[in-house]
């Protein structure tokens, strides 16, 4: 069921009630959650916050709290699974869901009130008609029951008639079910994302007249995460940026806060697809960023030469390019954007620029939205020692203005991650570990690998996968290369002997719609493998390492069909 009026039926409905916020472990969710927390405070709505990494977490946290809480708000989790089946909740429990995972589970859409979705029906694409997937079985059952009474009428005849009727009915039913199966299969063939939940939450804040620049920034960070991870189409991104830009103009005009020390400025600015370059050296950022690395093939000797050519063409002395961007000559720093843009055609670096936002507060704090996103990846996914809850808390801190040191530290870590990803790609190419298996490409991170931990996490693995696929396509002589999807696997839990498998669509598809999840399911079915996947995003899959070869064989067979 869709909630029509968020203000009345969600926000004000919750006033005076205690709720459990179940928040998925990703950047968009954290941003959305932070905005929502802000709104809840206005109404003094008491909440408890639970961090959800997967289906198991969702179940456990429901179990732990269902005795005390009746109202649940799920952020970026639960939309794609049948919640009522999963929780078997009491009748008075109510679930509000804001989830960017698609496709939404049909039972949630057609729930009669226990599950309430905080978006509009337009945001779910190609939803099958209610009657195409549900039918009222109660009539049939009463039909099938033999009528009592008229015993005089030839029993046998009647029975026969009934039988015929029943057979017809059953036949019709089978047909319907087959059709239903096809309809649902079509509806759920792709995994994809709706626009960031944080944007939806920001809009709610705006609607409630409680929006401000801090909240807007959260929406921007969430959107940027979707862009960096390629969760949404470029056109969707451009539209959303435009929308947020108009909000930023509106909010700028509204404020009269001119004190340099406390004011917050969000400006709409071009950013470069160079990771953290404002906090790094130009050389390092150019070298390790996926975009430039793949365009210039920087993992090769020839590539590095090309890099120095580019720097020379830009008129950037080597010594300058190797020191921190911040301490570069002012003139060079100012002209950096321009000079690299001028050369983008020559070096095949078109699309280097994308539109984004910059946050500025105080005199010295300036961050691109992408800086914060990388910092948060680092916090969420690079420390094996901290519990997810601790990481979640640091990530929340990272979004707080007065915790500069947290951001700074995370940025340093993000640089290490970026470097590690690059080196992994380089090694994969050098050692020819990226393997073509007929109609897909795969790459496996071995257990012995030094930094395997990083890649056991969802988003760093995704960044690596995209890098690998692009690098592969740029190197491959196979004309079909841009049409091949990539499947990547990394150890997940060494103790349990499990690994994670992620599939990303072919480059040429140029769309994030991902049907590999379906392929994983089918392959698993074909080898009778019991699925233990815990992910909400079905393009991620989890199996035992010992079954991986068997599973890949099944995938190959499937793709060859």
């Amino acid at each position: 069921m869709y909630v029509e009026n968020l203000k009345l039926d969600f926000y004000e409905f919750l006033t005076g009630k205690r709720i459990l916020l179940m928040v998925h472990y990703d950047i968009d969710s954290i941003c959305a959650c932070k905005i929502l927390q802000n709104l809840l405070k206005y109404k003094e709505i008491l909440y408890t916050l639970a961090v959800i990494r997967g289906v198991e977490d969702l179940k456990r946290s429901y179990r732990e709290n269902s005795n005390d809480v009746k109202y649940f708000v799920l952020i970026n989790c639960g939309g794609t699974v049948n919640l009522v089946d999963l929780f078997e909740p009491e009748e008075d429990a109510i679930f509000f869901i804001i989830d960017s995972h698609r496709p939404t589970h049909l039972d949630n859409i057609y729930s009669d009130g226990q599950v309430r979705l905080l978006w509009t029906s337009e945001e779910d694409l190609e939803v099958p008609d209610f009657h195409a997937v549900y039918r009222d079985d109660s009539d049939e059952e009463s039909d099938e029951e033999p009528e009592s009474g008229d015993e005089d009428e030839g029993r046998a005849a009647k029975k026969r008639r009934l039988n015929e009727e029943a057979i017809l009915k059953r036949r019709e039913r089978r047909l319907w079910e087959a059709k239903r199966f096809d309809i649902i299969a079509e509806y759920s063939q792709y995994t994809y994302y709706n626009k960031a939940s944080a944007i939806a939450m920001f809009k709610l804040a705006w609607f409630l007249n409680k929006d401000d620049k801090d909240l807007l920034w959260l929406a921007i960070v969430a959107l940027t995460e979707q862009y960096i991870l390629g969760k949404i189409e470029n056109s969707q991104y451009v539209l959303a940026v435009g929308e947020l830009q108009s909000h930023s103009n509106r909010l700028r005009n509204r404020s009269n806060d001119t004190d340099g020390l406390t004011s917050l400025r969000i400006t709409y600015e071009n950013d470069l697809k160079l990771v953290l370059y404002r906090h790094w050296s130009v050389e390092s950022s150019l070298k390790y960023s996926m975009f430039t690395a793949c365009k210039l093939k920087l993992w090769s000797h020839r590539g590095s030469k090309k890099l120095y050519e580019l720097l020379a063409d830009m008129g950037l002395p080597l010594s300058q390019s190797q020191q921190a961007f911040e301490s570069m000559d002012l003139q060079l720093r100012k002209e950096f954007h321009q000079s690299i843009e001028k050369l983008s055609e020559k070096y095949n670096l078109e699309d280097l620029v994308f539109t984004s936002f910059v946050l500025q507060y105080g005199y010295r704090n300036k961050y691109c939205a992408s800086d914060i996103v990388y910092a948060m990846f680092a916090i969420l996914e690079s420390s094996p020692k901290e519990t997810p809850e601790e990481c979640f808390n640091s990530a929340l801190d990272c979004l707080t203005r007065n915790k500069k040191d947290v951001v700074q530290k995370a940025i340093e870590r993000a640089k290490i991650i970026t470097k590690t990803i690059f080196k992994t790609v380089q090694a994969a190419i050098d050692m020819k570990q990226i393997i073509t298996a007929g109609n897909f490409v795969y790459y496996i991170i071995q257990e012995g690998c030094l930094d395997w931990y990083m890649f056991s996490n969802q988003y760093i693995l995704l960044l690596l996968a995209q890098f690998i696929l692009r690098a592969y396509v740029s190197m491959s002589r196979n004309r079909k290369a841009p049409d091949l999807p990539l499947i990547i696997s990394a150890p997940k839990n060494l103790d349990l002997g499990t690994c994670v498998i992620l599939g990303i669509p072919p480059l040429r598809q140029n769309s994030p719609k991902n049907n590999l999840g379906r392929a994983f399911e089918e392959a698993a079915e074909n080898i009778n493998y019991e699925v233990l996947s815990d992910y909400f995003d079905t393009s991620y899959f989890e199996i035992n390492i010992k079954d991986r070869t068997r599973f890949f064989d099944a995938l190959t067979a499937l793709f060859d069909k």
Partner: protein, 221 residues
């Protein structure tokens, strides 16, 4: 039900038949003054039990009214915050007094006894007096336990070096009424004198304004 702030800040009447009528706002203001004075004066000041009792009455009155408001009422939050703030005032005031009583327990009890003998106004409330006596007994008992390894030790030494407040410490103050000829630091002989005009602010050593603080002519800040 429409409870407005004015309803809560009902006029209350002093229990004594002094016919003193205070509005709630005036009462809270008075409590604030009392609290600040106690907070900054090095010694314990005469108790203000009447004010405390009135304020406590006010708090429970406000809380009772608050209960009738639905929990979703926006105003409830603000009123609750105000109640909490007032409760903090009272609690903080009483805590400051307790801490002084504990620290200067011998000194305060001795002075209190002398005031009793001179039939002057007592500084401690009855409850505070009881607390102080008990505190002193327990302290003595503890010291006794620590030194009873040799009966008859000259361990009473500490009672001749009584811990007393530093009356010479400096305080910030604001004059509420005009006072002329305040002798600055009476412990020195050079009779330097200052005149206070209403509203003027100064830093002086506490012993020069002790009486003025107690009379309410000046307010510590």
């Amino acid at each position: 039900m429409d409870l407005e702030l004015e309803d809560l800040e009902n006029t209350i009447q002093d229990d004594d038949d002094d016919n003193v009528q205070l509005t709630s706002a005036e009462l809270i203001e008075m409590m604030e003054e009392v609290w600040v004075n106690e907070k900054f004066a090095p010694e314990i000041l005469p108790h203000k039990q009447e004010v405390v009792d009135c304020v406590l009455g006010q708090i429970s009155y406000m809380e009772k009214n608050l209960e009738t408001l639905p929990s979703t009422d926006f105003k409830k939050g603000i009123h609750q915050l105000e109640v909490d703030r007032i409760r903090f005032l009272v609690a903080s005031y009483l805590r400051h007094r307790l801490e002084k009583i504990e620290t200067y327990v011998l000194h305060i009890l001795k002075e209190e006894e002398q005031r009793g003998e001179r039939e002057e106004e007592l500084y401690l409330t009855e409850a505070e007096q009881q607390f102080a006596i008990k505190y002193k007994q327990d302290l003595e008992q503890h010291f006794e336990n620590a030194t009873n390894f040799y009966p008859g030790l000259p361990f009473e030494d500490w009672k001749s070096h009584i811990v007393a407040p530093n009356m010479n410490s400096f305080v910030f103050l604001k004059a509420k009424t005009a006072v002329e000829g305040v002798v600055i630091d009476p412990s020195r002989d050079d009779d330097e004198v200052a005149d206070l005009t209403v509203g003027s602010q100064m830093i002086l050593s506490y012993n020069s304004v002790t009486d003025l603080v107690k009379k309410g002519d000046v307010q510590l800040i």
